[in-house]
Symmetry: C2
Subunit: 245 residues, 2 copies
DNA sequence: TATTATTGTCTCATTTTGTTACAATAATAC
DNA sequence: GTATTATTGTAACAAAATGAGACAATAATA
């Protein structure tokens, strides 16, 4: 065995998490997808929960390892627990492609229940790092994802659905944009999440009416037109988790 | 040992579910709470997941055992995975009060991650049955719950919050009322869930505007006033789970 | 037959949202 | 400089949704 696999003693068996990490590149909504060595398999970044750590903390630990970011907006959205979801053959393929010998009965081949989270991060503040088993980790536009292994496609769907539902009440834009941004950029985030065009004047009036933005200096891009204002959220720093008080 | 405990071989270790079962008695929103023998401990009905059954099916099985109902509206809303949530002392108390000898290391004393669901049922169609470990199972108004053990109070809070958020889009009323009901009853459901009074005329206009109700004969209660119409949801039978196609 | 409580509906005021219009710019072309 | 171009910020009006009150139509009962 060439590399060290996670051991069953350290982790809770049958329990995993998967994360849908959203970023916005100025035009499109994107997701971080990793590809396993020599398998052509694409998957969501995920991991396991240590015996002595909170579920939420396990996910934060995984995100930190992959993105280097510490204070990430994170929201749990669903737990996937169907018998049909895990696929031991897929798992075996991944392990064997990494030169792990896999004995029958290895805990990684068992049934897994997965708790799914989505994260919102600032696209530009991150240089994603692959983990030991995976080749690469890259951004993919949500409408141009490669075929994902197991039920990861469904997980992404549900994440998008939840994100859409939370768009208004959770100030999603705050976490996908840099601290200063134009109204146009904010609108593009909304459009990318909702998957539909919005009317400029109505959007602007509505957002300004919420009284959550602070206006700053103008942004001179060098383009031949009126320079837009920059805004930031009044509500200070991007918030990691708007939790029940 | 006087009774048979669930065995670790049959179930997935460290994984449980809890259910918040809502009912509406015509006035108040209520929840089914069970009380364990000789302990004074109140808890949500919950259970474990068999090695070879879907997570959702485990919950349905538990609900069926407790309510006798088969086709229950069920929605998963959160997974609770903090280290601090399980309390081995509480679990031991419950088991010992039922004359179970509890050896150190029994799986039931381990850490548990719990997937929480809420269910909506027709209050009158049910005669709740206690399980083997519990004394009684009873309806409690959501604003008059006894103190619940462990983190079950938080679970109820989150369930209510989710129910409120889903009220509009999931046709909650459909599952909490009998098949025919008056406009007033429907309004009472909305008020109970939202925790606030609604304006009668506005409510009526809005609901009728949704074009989801079918009007039937009048209901003569014997009261000294105009008899209200009975309505039913056009959308036929109460739906078990409005799932992603 | 008058009284009472409640229901169904209408009307008008208020608020919110949709839509169009237009002035104010920051470049660039001349 | 001055006209041109693309975009932005905001105002103005129309349309739609919601809030609030009024009122006629009952099923009993007194």
């Amino acid at each position: 065995m060439s590399k060290i696999l996670p051991s069953v003693d350290e982790y809770i068996p049958h329990l995993a998490y998967d994360s849908v990490i959203f970023g916005f590149n100025g035009e499109q909504l994107k997701i971080l997808i990793l590809e396993y060595h020599n398998t052509g398999l694409f998957a969501l970044p995920g991991g396991f929960v240590r015996q002595n750590e909170n579920l939420d903390d396990a996910v934060k630990r995984g995100l930190k390892e992959r993105t280097g970011l510490d204070n990430i907006y994170l929201e749990q959205f669903h737990t996937f627990g169907d018998l049909s979801r895990p696929d031991p053959d897929v798992m075996r393929t991944i392990l064997e492609a990494n030169d792990h010998e896999v004995e029958e009965g290895n805990w990684l081949l068992d049934r897994f229940i997965s708790v799914a989270y989505y994260a919102l991060i600032n696209y530009n503040s991150v240089e994603p790092k692959p983990d030991e088993l995976s080749d690469s980790i890259n951004w993919y536009a949500v409408d141009k994802l490669p075929p994902l292994m197991m039920d990861h496609g469904k997980i992404v769907e549900k994440a998008l659905e939840t994100l859409r539902n939370n768009l208004e009440k959770k100030l999603v834009g705050m976490n996908l944009l840099p601290s200063k941004f134009t109204m146009k950029e904010l609108q593009l985030v909304y459009e990318a999440v909702l998957g539909e065009k919005l009317r400029r004047t109505t959007f602007q009036r509505k957002i300004l009416g919420l009284d959550i933005l602070k206006r700053h200096e103008k942004l001179f891009t060098g383009a031949a037109h009126k320079a837009p204002y920059l805004y930031s959220f009044k509500n200070k720093a991007p918030i990691e988790h708007q939790e029940h008080a």
